[in-house]
């Protein structure tokens, strides 16, 4: 690795950590139970929204009602996104005249966006009308993120409330997340991105003449739609000269801002944040990386404020960094080392002052290795899934990092809200294990952890693991599953494992060589995304409901303090051990096998 690689990683961490406290304390004000200056500023709009939708702000919900409100709201979003895609050809703001999206793809995309996954089986610039992107996809970017934050706040109330039968009001939490956090932050980020060259308009695509003509090569198909082969068995191709280039346009900046900030990850264009109109400069790339970790990182501080002990929040953040930083450095180092397969050829992969060097397949020149490898680690540690380089072309170990970061359950920063409530499930497991060691009833944040909490925490930890392992097995055993695989050998297995890991942990990035826009993949991944997202949220809300009903236990001499380096280490170990034990066998068949084969 070069000095600049380390500098870019270091600068990112410094800026991120500097933002955690101000943003975190601002969010604590947003979710405060008592009025304050932040809530007064938006009070008028808030009240109007509640009145129009018949929400009683004084209503406090038990965990069941909270969960039902959350599910109904997301179900309504699912139907809206599905319907928009199916009828977009008759609706306005469709300058390229795109037709209806197929039912299985529309269903997959609808689940994908409401579950904060943003797995994309389609090509944005040639499938979705501006209207579908704005009213369907961009809206769910906000609402799925707001849902995540709302559930987190409700889970934290489980710890803070004593002998209570309620954990808050879903409508209020969701509305406040959107109005006070996601909207204003997105606007600022969108304008910063736009200043760098991200497009933001409603124009038709622009056609420009090429300086030098090029050639389009297409395979010839017969009347039945099969490719025609010549005598030697090769595909017959037809060449047509091309003298123009079509530049895509659209309201991209507004959507990209929330796709990063809400850890959604669904690109406006197919190449996602590798597209120069979606991520034009190293600075826009820095802003996009910062936006991914901003809320998940700052929520740790908010959590500390809410439970009345900021050290608890810092301890969780320290655990996340303890796992993230070495893996991020590993990803950059693996890519900087280059691709051994090209060593025998006359290719210069050495880093120098004139080039980034390393494995540049699938990467953009302006990002080189450091800004690509760091983005890869960030987008998969958080459940964002935006990509600024093509993960399918990563080196074996460079590809193992993002895959494993997802498989750890998206708790290393994770999704907005969902990452932290996932980590709190791990924290409950960690205090339970510590309790077993010393033979005491475990406590966390002043609440006794008993059988019901352990069941719910185990569910939250194990559901995504089970989905990954079972659905990967189903996919590799079905002809329809392996039909979409693009690369030969161990890497082909990695494509399948990556896709299922991504969907089952609501990440959304892909080893994109896999042709996943087929009925089989759309349905399988749709199931993974839906159940992982909502089973987890319900389990955590159920845990919060039972915790809220308990009395507060004052800490005693036998209580394990949960803000110490010892607890940080214990928590990190629990996360790593669960992730390693579950996935090492599968990883050995994919990236590890590929690494061993390419190394010799």
């Amino acid at each position: 690795m070069t000095t600049n690689d380390f500098l870019q990683i270091g600068l990112y961490l410094v800026v991120l950590l500097a933002l955690v406290k101000p943003v975190g304390s601002y969010m604590a004000l947003v979710f405060a139970d008592t009025p304050n200056r932040v809530l007064r500023a938006g009070g008028g709009v808030e009240k109007l929204l509640y009145r129009l939708s018949g929400v009683r702000t004084d209503e406090q919900m038990g965990w069941r009602r909270y969960a039902i409100a959350m599910l109904l709201f997301n179900m309504a979003g699912l139907f809206a996104v599905y319907l928009l895609q199916r009828v977009q050809q008759w609706l306005p703001l469709n300058p390229q005249h795109f037709g209806a999206v197929s039912p299985d793809s529309a269903m997959n995309t609808a689940i994908s966006f409401i579950s904060n996954t943003n797995w994309q089986g389609y090509t944005g610039e040639s499938t979705m009308s501006y209207l579908t992107q704005m009213l369907g996809l961009a809206v769910q970017n906000f609402l799925s993120a707001a849902t995540g934050i709302a559930v987190l706040v409700a889970v934290v109330r489980g710890f803070t409330r004593r002998s209570a039968d309620s954990i808050g009001n879903f409508w209020v939490d969701m509305t406040r997340s959107t109005l006070y956090i996601l909207l204003p932050f997105s606007l600022v980020i969108a304008l910063l991105l736009s200043s760098q060259g991200v497009v933001q308009n409603f124009k038709s695509y622009v056609e420009v003449p090429l300086v030098q003509n090029t050639v389009a090569v297409e395979t010839v198909k017969d009347a039945a739609g099969n490719t025609v082969k010549d005598a030697a068995g090769k595909d017959v191709t037809k060449e047509t000269p091309v003298s123009t280039q079509t530049l895509p346009m659209g309201p991209a900046a507004s959507q990209i801002a929330i796709k990063q900030l809400g850890t959604n990850g669904g690109g406006f264009f197919n190449a996602n944040s590798a597209h120069p109109y979606e991520n034009p400069t190293p600075f826009s790339n820095f802003i996009e990386m910062l936006a991914i970790f901003l809320i998940p990182g700052a929520l740790c501080y908010t959590f500390g404020c809410m439970v009345g002990d900021r050290r608890q929040g810092w301890a969780i953040l320290a655990t996340m960094l303890l796992i993230f930083v070495p893996l991020a450095i590993g990803a950059v180092a693996a890519e900087q080392a280059g691709n051994p397969a090209l060593h025998g050829l006359a290719v210069d992969q050495q880093a120098s002052t004139l080039q980034a060097g390393g494995n540049m397949e699938g990467k953009e020149t302006r990002f080189g290795i450091a800004a690509s490898g760091l983005f890869t680690a960030i987008t998969t540690a958080a459940s964002c899934g935006a990509v600024n380089n093509m993960h399918d072309s990563l080196t074996p170990l460079g590809g193992l990092v993002p895959m494993w970061l997802m498989q750890l359950g998206e708790v290393i920063f994770g999704g907005v809200g969902s990452g932290l409530y996932g980590m709190l499930a791990f924290a409950v497991v960690a205090v339970f294990i510590a309790g077993l060691m010393v033979g005491r009833t475990p406590e966390y944040l002043g609440k006794k952890i008993e059988a019901h909490e352990m069941k719910m925490a185990s569910l939250a930890v194990l559901v995504p693991c089970a989905l990954v392992v079972i659905c990967t097995a189903i996919a590799v055993m079905s002809p329809a599953g392996v039909a979409g695989v693009a690369n030969p050998g161990a890497h082909g297995f990695s494509e399948v494992l990556y896709a299922v890991s991504s969907a089952s942990n609501n990440n959304g990035s892909a080893f994109a060589g896999l042709s996943a826009n087929t009925p089989f993949w759309n349905v399988l991944l749709g199931v993974c995304m839906y159940f992982s997202r909502f089973l987890l949220a319900i389990a955590m809300l159920a845990m919060a409901g039972s915790l809220a009903a308990k009395r507060h236990v004052p800490p005693s001499a036998g209580t394990l303090p949960t803000h110490t380096p010892l607890f940080v280490t214990l928590l990190a170990c629990v996360v790593i051990v669960v992730g390693a034990l579950t996935f090492l066998p599968a990883l050995a068949l994919g990236p590890i096998a590929e690494f061993l084969m390419s190394a010799h």
Binding site: V206, T214, S254, H275, S598
Partner: protein
């Protein structure tokens, strides 16, 4: 339950108006006023007509032009309507073959140049639209372009320098050369 369903539908509708209509319209209004050129695609204009974008690369195969990053878009390279990379894995033989062919093409256009080729010049970019190459990839092509155009190498190097950008704020990203700007400058635009 009925009240929850009504709230869910109304909330979705209201939030759609706020985040799906008001937010993108306000952002568009502000961006069009503050950053009109960037918000409309960073287009290069000639005689009032767009002739390209500084952000979107074009394909070049003529020895007198600087070549950009290989593009894996279909059916033609640098297809603005279908961005994306090759998605070839590192051990895929198709990747090694593609790199070999690109080396051969560069060598055929520049016989006698046996220097190792900078890696970004023979590997496909992530977007298929990468507008830039590394300074090393530009330096590799200077003698060929100079010869094809009957210019001195220092003349061409001076034009490369004009199209070169360092790391942003001296630290972020990588130094790079904008290929379309450079080639338009060589053609005298």
């Amino acid at each position: 339950m009925g009240r929850l369903i009504r709230s869910a539908l109304m909330m979705l509708l209201l939030m759609t108006v706020i985040t799906g209509v008001a937010y993108p319209l306000v952002t568009t209004g502000l961006a069009q006023v503050l950053f009109p050129s960037q918000a409309n695609g960073s287009l290069i204009q000639k005689d009032g007509k767009p002739i390209g974008s500084t952000l979107i690369g074009q394909a070049f195969v003529d020895p007198k032009y600087f070549w950009g990053r290989p593009s894996a878009t279909a059916p033609q390279p640098n297809n603005g309507e279908s961005s994306g990379g090759s998605n070839q894995g590192p051990t895929n033989p198709a990747l090694t073959d593609a790199v070999k062919q690109r080396i051969d093409a560069l060598r055929a256009a520049d016989p006698g140049n046996t220097a190792p080729v900078p890696v970004d010049l023979v590997t496909a970019s992530g977007s298929g639209l990468d507008p830039e190459i590394s300074p090393a990839a530009a330096a590799y092509q200077v003698p060929r372009v100079a010869r094809a155009r009957g210019l001195s190498e220092s003349q061409v190097q001076a034009m490369v320098a004009m199209a070169t950008q360092g790391r942003q704020f001296g630290m972020l990203g990588e130094p790079r050369v904008n290929v379309l700007k450079l080639n338009l400058a060589l053609d005298g635009h």
